[in-house]
Symmetry: C2
Subunit: 315 residues, 2 copies
């Protein structure tokens, strides 16, 4: 698959008249960089590689464009328009028969179908397979952060919401996306890991109980750092300014990689995360102090009720 | 000490007409941020803090200037001119009598005296003390990266070289600076840690033996990443381009934080470091593969002889 993609890519780069090419890979694909560098060098390009951590199209190595004509970002679809960037999603196919494992969990004859970018190419086959088992799929357009029909991100469940279904099948790895979908939509959510073959119903209440505990732990914090990311698709300055205005103890903290060591060094008693929403939900166990979502900080400050709890999405 | 400094700082910020202030602290001072934020807020400023790791004035959080009128960088003297940045070195005093501990190691009646930025304020007292013991100090101007007379950095030993002395007294913490001075100058070097009170002669040959071993280990590497930093005072693009031209297996890798995890993920068999020189020398034990200095890569490629080994400095 890869080598076909590369010849396509080379054509496109040549058409653009690009000569100096910067490449960016997410962590799981970084090891392929030497091989792709070699192919592009053989094709006559001057090549460089971004070596910083990368977890999404929200995290573009735009600084490479100071030295390169084009940045090729592998593995993700765009979350926003960026001149000079070519996106090369990385399709991961699976045996369609694995959907069989999800069937015992499905109760409705119509489900919303959502997946992550590496499997969107499988959506037509999934629709056909499920149709053959009497199940109709609603595959909806999401937000501008999710350009493919049926695509969700850890920070955008719009395609799930827009499916209008009260039962949603998420096909992908991990439990973060389906948990977020459950909280964001209120629907019953079935998660199928198409590589492991495991299926399960996923509910939002465990995460929500844990989050309420974190909010309570943050009560009484005398210093609050409102984290603003410098990453291209994670900068929510307006939101951060609004949150900083909720408490006299809050100050804006500007950072690139939100990691436990830096939060410890900075020494604030509590943080509010306006960068990648997953950081607060997924990484709390690694953080030295409570790291709240924007909505959770509003609850702490009394400007939002517990009943209005919402999962954080970037719109 | 701090509170005086802060009132000075507030005056200067007011004179500039600055309203929105970004603060940046090196790791060891980050914990003071909440306290300094509070003082500046009380004085009427809008304040934000850079949360990224910071190890020197080469590593300025210039991106904060998109939201702030001024960046106040604590703990270091400037390595280059940067509009919009105020540098606030952080003086660390010590009991001058500690110099007594260095005397048994000093053989000459004239020594070159060098120190790091947090102790440059002690230089006049050190000169007086040593003079009273019959020792004359040469305290020389360094490079533009070291604006104080007698100041050295881990990437600039110019003040030691310019002292012209064949015996040099380094007053400061750690063995990296005196080791670098020994290699850079060929002088006999005495290191005094003014806080621990320990003194010793420091030689360059152990580091050089280790480095030759690393060069040998890099022989036969089929893929070479030439690391270029995106940090303001560590970008050596021309040098990187020169090094990339020495081997067909080399490709430029652009990164902010050079850390072992990312080097492992990228999967190159060997790296050449043009970012902070200390990374290659100090952190080799943490890196998964050889990380060479520019001069070491030239030796590997045969364009420099082992006899011309030089320690890497940023000029």
């Amino acid at each position: 698959m890869l080598l076909n993609d590369i010849s396509d890519l080379i054509e496109r780069l040549k058409k653009r008249g690009a000569r100096r090419i910067a490449l960016q890979f997410p962590e799981g694909l970084k090891r392929r960089s030497a091989e792709i560098v070699a192919s592009l060098k053989d094709a006559g390009f001057e090549v460089m590689v971004s070596g910083d951590p990368c977890y999404g199209a929200c995290d573009l190595a735009l600084e490479t464009l100071r030295s390169a004509d084009v940045l090729v970002h592998f593995g993700h679809a765009p979350v926003d328009e960026q001149p000079g960037v070519i996106f090369e999603p990385w399709d991961v196919a699976f045996d369609i028969g694995v959907l069989e494992n999800a069937l015992p969990f499905i109760r409705r004859t119509t489900v919303g179908l959502v997946t992550t970018v590496q499997h969107v190419n499988m959506i037509p086959a999934m629709i056909t397979f499920l149709q053959s088992r009497g199940i109709t799929c609603n595959v909806a357009e999401g937000s501008q952060r999710t350009p493919f029909r049926g695509q969700v991100l850890g920070c955008s469940f719009a395609a799930a919401r827009a499916s209008g279904a009260d039962e949603i099948l998420f096909v992908g790895t991990g439990l973060f996306h389906p948990t977020g979908i459950a909280i964001a939509t209120g629907a019953r959510v079935i998660a199928l890991d198409p590589l492991a073959g495991t299926a399960q119903e996923v509910r939002g209440d465990t995460l929500m109980r844990r989050r309420f505990a974190v909010i309570e732990k943050a009560r009484g914090a005398r210093t609050v750092g409102i984290i603003v990311s410098t990453k291209s698709g994670q900068q929510r300055k307006e939101l951060a300014r609004h949150l900083a205005g909720l408490s006299k103890d809050a100050v804006i903290v500007i950072m690139r990689e939100v990691n436990p060591g830096e939060l410890l060094n900075l020494g604030f008693a509590c943080y509010v995360n306006t960068a990648c929403p997953r950081l607060a939900y997924d990484d709390q166990v690694r953080f030295p102090v409570p790291v709240l979502s924007p909505q959770e900080f509003e609850i702490l400050c009394g400007t939002r009720t517990w009943e209005d709890y919402a999962i954080d999405e970037i719109v």
